[in-house]
């Protein structure tokens, strides 16, 4: 029998690979099908959003931060608004808090649906993607109803919301929640006990409990490894302590556990949505009554001089924020998320820094894939749910 010539092969995966969720480049060294080393290279999508925010007024930052992590736009803007409101020392009304909770949970379902769809497709279950995007369409329709924009509604404002809820909002959310429960069961029928899916995902990309925390992967990845840390429970904000929901955890820390955790999270989010919806009146107060921050209603602008002046001041100069720094963590779809904002007392931020859960997930990717098979690399990248807009900013 002739000798088989073997050698270590270096493969560039990405930055244009369809399964790298954007522009992630991985330099893999392969011995046959086993991954010997992996070096992630990032930065292809770096657009300098943090530098750009320093040229903008506070309110103008919201569309920019929504475009960082483009699958959890409203969680980003909510985290930013919470930090700025903490600096301003204002507290939004109860109704606004409930609406923000509802929107954040819908956004979590939305993000997890994109994750489930793309992850399912990458490990070979293409039909799951079609079904997930079908239900996500309903959520995007709700966004469109809310703000006229589907992906980046910019509906959050410092000091409240842009406008009151549209007519038919409650009916649309109820229709979605009624429809979504049974659909989630259907996705589980397709995957949870699917032999092929189990073979692709169990004992793959394992990360231990301690390593997950040390690498900063708190969120669904750490919960799949057994860390029950959830900002909503540990450091409640927006009144999450008054909602009844559980934090699903698993113990094995593999790709399959992450799948189970995220599906269970979608069910818990539905529970929170129903509770929040029951508290929200169809019309009511939607921003704090503070003439420094919120513009006056349009009918007053057309009839009163003072309201007109206030309107012009807010739209031309913006508002000033007291000097200082604030960081309010929230539980985004990918784990702890927040904006470290620094103000020098003017109408523009001195520094805005996002805590990027995807960057840390990308950093730990090497640890999860080295020693595994190259086919598992795809499953692992899918399971950590990286959004390159959030990695590179």
């Amino acid at each position: 029998m002739p000798d088989i010539k073997t050698e270590v092969m270096t493969v560039n995966m990405g930055p244009q690979h369809p399964s790298t969720h954007g522009v992630l480049r991985l330099v893999l060294e392969l011995d046959g099908e086993t991954v010997l080393s992996a070096a992630p290279t990032i930065g292809f999508l770096h657009t300098g959003i943090e530098k750009t925010t320093e040229q903008k007024k506070w309110q103008q930052v919201i569309p920019l931060v929504e475009r960082m992590d483009y699958l959890s736009a409203q969680s980003n803007s909510m985290a930013f608004c919470l930090s700025v409101e903490r600096l301003l020392g204002v507290e939004v009304p109860q109704r606004v808090r409930d609406i923000r909770v509802l929107i954040a949970e819908l956004q979590r379902i939305n993000s997890h649906l994109v994750w489930l769809g793309t992850h399912g497709m990458e490990v070979g279950a293409v039909s799951v993607m079609l079904y997930c995007f079908r239900e996500r369409e309903l959520l995007l329709n709700i966004n469109e109803l809310l703000a006229g924009f589907r992906l980046f509604p910019s509906y959050m404002r410092v000091g409240g919301l842009r406008e009151d809820l549209p007519r038919g909002f409650h009916a649309a959310v109820v229709a979605f929640l009624d429809r979504f429960g049974p659909k989630l069961d259907e996705y589980e029928d397709l995957l949870t006990k699917n032999e092929i899916y189990l073979k692709r995902t169990q004992h793959v990309g394992v990360i231990s409990k301690d390593a997950a925390v040390a690498y900063g992967l708190v969120g669904p990845i750490a919960r799949a490894a057994g860390v029950d840390y959830d900002v909503r429970k540990y450091f409640p904000y927006l009144g999450y302590e008054t909602y009844d929901f559980a934090v699903p955890t698993q113990t094995r820390g593999d790709v399959y556990s992450r799948y189970l955790v995220r599906v269970a999270e979608m069910r818990e989010s539905m529970k929170i949505c129903r509770q929040a919806l029951a508290r929200i009146t169809p019309t009511g107060i939607f921003a704090i009554d503070d003439p420094r921050i919120t513009p006056p209603p349009k009918d007053r602008v057309y009839t009163e001089m003072e309201a007109l002046i206030q309107h012009f001041l807010i739209y031309s100069q913006g508002f000033t924020v007291p000097a200082g720094e604030a960081y309010v963590p929230v539980e985004g779809p990918r784990g702890e998320q927040g904006f470290y904002v620094v103000s020098d007392g003017t109408n523009r931020p001195w520094r805005v820094k996002s805590r990027p859960p995807s960057l840390l997930a990308c950093q730990a990717l090497e640890r999860m894939i080295v020693g595994g098979l190259i086919a598992d690399v795809i499953a692992v990248i899918g399971s950590i749910d990286v959004v390159m807009g959030d990695v590179d900013r």
Partner: protein, 182 residues
């Protein structure tokens, strides 16, 4: 643990360094530490059971140009076991901005420190892989510094196709791996 107890026990953990409580408008416990105390303090924060700050939530920097000391490096650490959050800040002068790395304490700091080096030019002593992270490797300057012009004109660096043999490519890879300490 309330704020005063936390600061007092921090001071007890690193007696050689002066720990100074900082004003915080967002009610988050904040302390300033001298930069020499960072490695000892980081270890104490993570390993002592009364702190158990095992999770580094955020590591970033702020440039207060033209004030002096110009830079502040900010660490946000979370103790999951004790439900505590703490913000630690280190002031750095404009002419010599460097601080010891905390990669060996919290592995999450690796890329976060690289990002700060990339965008602020603050060096982290003992970092295992001190390269740029987000900007191209041949980029000049540190974009998030306040004296970095926004409307900058850079001469484009035209890249030519890679002209190396397979052996050179391999040895470059090996060199790369050696410099990264693996």
């Amino acid at each position: 643990m309330d704020v005063d107890t936390l600061v007092a026990s921090l001071q007890a953990a690193v007696p050689e360094a002066q720990i100074e409580q900082a004003p915080s408008i967002d009610l988050q416990t904040t302390v300033y530490v001298p930069r020499d105390a960072v490695p000892a303090l980081a270890r104490a924060l993570r390993d002592r059971p009364e702190f158990a700050f095992t999770f580094l939530a955020e590591l970033t920097a702020v440039d207060y140009w033209p004030k002096e000391p110009r830079y502040e490096v900010v660490y946000v650490v979370v103790s999951i076991a004790n439900r505590l959050r703490l913000r630690v800040k280190v002031r750095l002068p404009a002419d010599d901005p460097h601080v010891a790395t905390v990669c060996d304490v919290w592995p999450a700091a690796n890329w976060l420190e690289r990002e700060v080096w990339d965008l602020f030019g603050i060096a982290f002593d003992g970092h295992p892989d001190p390269r740029r992270l987000l900007m191209p490797e041949d980029w000049q300057g540190y974009p998030l510094r306040k004296d970095y012009p926004v409307q900058i004109r850079m001469t484009p660096n035209a890249s030519e196709a890679l002209q190396v043999t397979e052996d050179e490519f391999r040895s470059n890879l090996m060199k790369d791996r050696l410099t990264r300490g693996r």
